[in-house]
Amino acid sequence: NPRESIAYSQYPRPADSPQWNSDKPSLKDIKVMGYSIRTIDYRYTVWVGFSPHEFLANFSDVHAGELYFVDSDPLQDHNMYNDSQGKDLLQHLMP
């Protein structure tokens, strides 16, 4: 079932706002990790606190979220995370 196919991606950041090393933070400077789940219907991303020493992501420490629906927003320009209780979805998706 194509609906079951999922692709995960992730990206690290040194801070919540763009800065000189946002594109390529060194491991020791990573403070946030953005984890994305993609299906044929949506892309859901949570940017959570990350410890580079324990290599641990803290899914209770959500810095920001993104939610785009493929059919209505294929270019991913309209973030629905805050509008659609994205936070609840996170609880639902929690591993």
Binding site: Y8, Y11, I40, R43, L75
Partner: protein, 422 residues
């Protein structure tokens, strides 16, 4: 029944702006021709949109959270676990494994050795002209040489009179010729540098993309609802002399629209230049009668933003930077075995006015991960597919975190067609 050879083509920073992915503007006839004989994955995604982490991930079959490489500064065998690699697995199964160009990311992340000797049977090849890639070899409007982002060159004018990807193609063809006398199957990985920045390509390719035909990205503004943490401030291209001269504001720019169009023009021109290199490589494989005994995989390590969401480069979680081209040609399975003397991959000149429409091959729309490349390739070559990894798997040398995509290669009616390999 002889084991199939493998030709793995990895392209640096190539988003699916290709004819076979529906792009109407880009001239990529040789890649489109490969696609017409392949199984093409429409929705394949990288696990992290930056070179070294993505490459180590799909070449070891582990996610970045397992390789623990999110930057460029560690070697997984020392830092996370002694994970086996895709070429190493083939080498341990009797293949002669060879690397040309940029397969592993050079430097610490591959132990300054492209992970030799584990992964490769012979020392990896790197084109000598690569050392000029980021030097002042771009002739600017002032007639002086600069280290620019936009760098269409006159081949006769550049050091050594050649470019890295040309040298890589020549070396790969030499190696293919040598394999003809070998009894062992080969696994040849060819890593092309373009369209990675700087956009340094033979200037004639610019003619394929007249500026008046180049539009801006469909959504060139930074979206209102985009969290600042999600935004990539494209710091790398800002280091280039021609971009520095624009005095752009940090972090959001914007880049003047005429320069945006020039960046897009040069990215597309770089793709067509790369396409010619792939075309020469595949036609040589054909000429050596290897097309009926070689699996060909074409993929990139991640995509690239060309102004979408006000962003440039990779470094984000957007589809535009994580979605990659991924296709597999398997002789007798994705295409009938070529008749004696039949050419499957004759070279096609992107400049020729007659761009015949290419019959697309079979396509899969399910979402898949670049992580699945290695187990799938092992399965297609008839090797035992490594087992799923336990969680955690730092202590396990050989396992896979990606899916095996073999189910997509089932042939509908094998009985109906004697050509198709069982």
């Amino acid at each position: 029944t002889a084991p199939l050879n493998v030709l793995l083509i990895i392209v640096d920073d190539l988003r699916p702006s290709l004819g076979c992915y529906g792009d109407k503007l880009v001239r990529s006839p040789n890649i489109d021709q490969l696609a017409s004989h392949s199984l093409l994955f429409q929705n394949a995604f990288a696990q992290q949109a930056v070179c070294a982490p993505s490459r180590v991930s799909f070449l070891t079959g582990r996610r970045p959270d397992t390789t623990r490489l999110y930057d460029f500064n560690s070697y997984w065998r020392v830092h996370a676990g002694n994970f086996s690699t895709l070429p190493q697995y083939f080498k341990e199964n009797g293949y002669v494994t060879m690397s040309v160009g940029k397969v592993f990311h050079p430097g610490i992340s591959s132990n300054y050795s492209d992970d030799s000797p584990y992964s490769w049977s012979i020392p990896p090849y790197h084109p000598s002209s690569e050392k000029y890639e980021n030097t002042k070899t771009c002739r600017g409007p002032d007639g002086e040489l600069h280290a620019n982002l936009l760098c269409p060159v006159d081949i006769a004018d550049v050091p050594e009179g050649t470019l890295p990807d040309k040298q890589s193609t020549e070396q790969a063809i030499r190696l293919l010729e040598k394999t003809k006398t070998s009894t062992r199957p080969f696994f040849l990985a060819v890593g092309y540098h373009k369209p990675h920045i700087p956009f340094r390509y033979p200037k004639e390719f610019q003619k394929l993309y007249p500026l008046e035909n180049i539009t801006l990205a469909p959504d060139p503004e930074v979206p209102a609802g985009l969290p600042p943490v999600a935004y990539n401030p494209w710091m790398d291209i800002r280091q280039r002399e021609d971009v520095q001269a624009l005095n752009l504001s940090v972090p959001y720019g914007p880049i003047p629209v005429d320069f945006q169009r020039k960046i897009r023009q040069s990215y597309f021109a770089s793709i067509s230049y790369l396409d010619t290199q792939v075309g020469h490589l595949l036609s040589a494989l054909d000429d050596l009668q290897l097309a009926n005994s070689t699996i060909i995989v074409f993929a990139s390590d991640h995509g690239w933003a060309l102004g979408e969401h006000g962003e440039w480069a990779k470094y984000s979680n957007f589809d535009i930077t994580t979605r990659v081209p991924l296709m597999f040609y398997v002789p007798g399975r994705t295409a009938p075995l070529p008749e004696a003397g039949e050419k499957l991959f004759p070279y096609i000149d992107p400049f020729s006015s007659v761009q015949e429409l290419m019959e697309p091959g079979r396509q899969v729309t399910d979402l898949v991960e670049l992580l699945s490349l290695s187990p799938t390739l092992a399965g297609l070559a008839g090797l035992h597919v490594p087992p799923r990894c336990p969680v955690p798997s730092f202590h396990v040398e050989l396992c896979r975190e990606g899916q095996n995509l073999m189910k997509h290669f089932q042939v509908e009616d094998v009985e109906g067609d004697p050509h198709l390999r069982g």
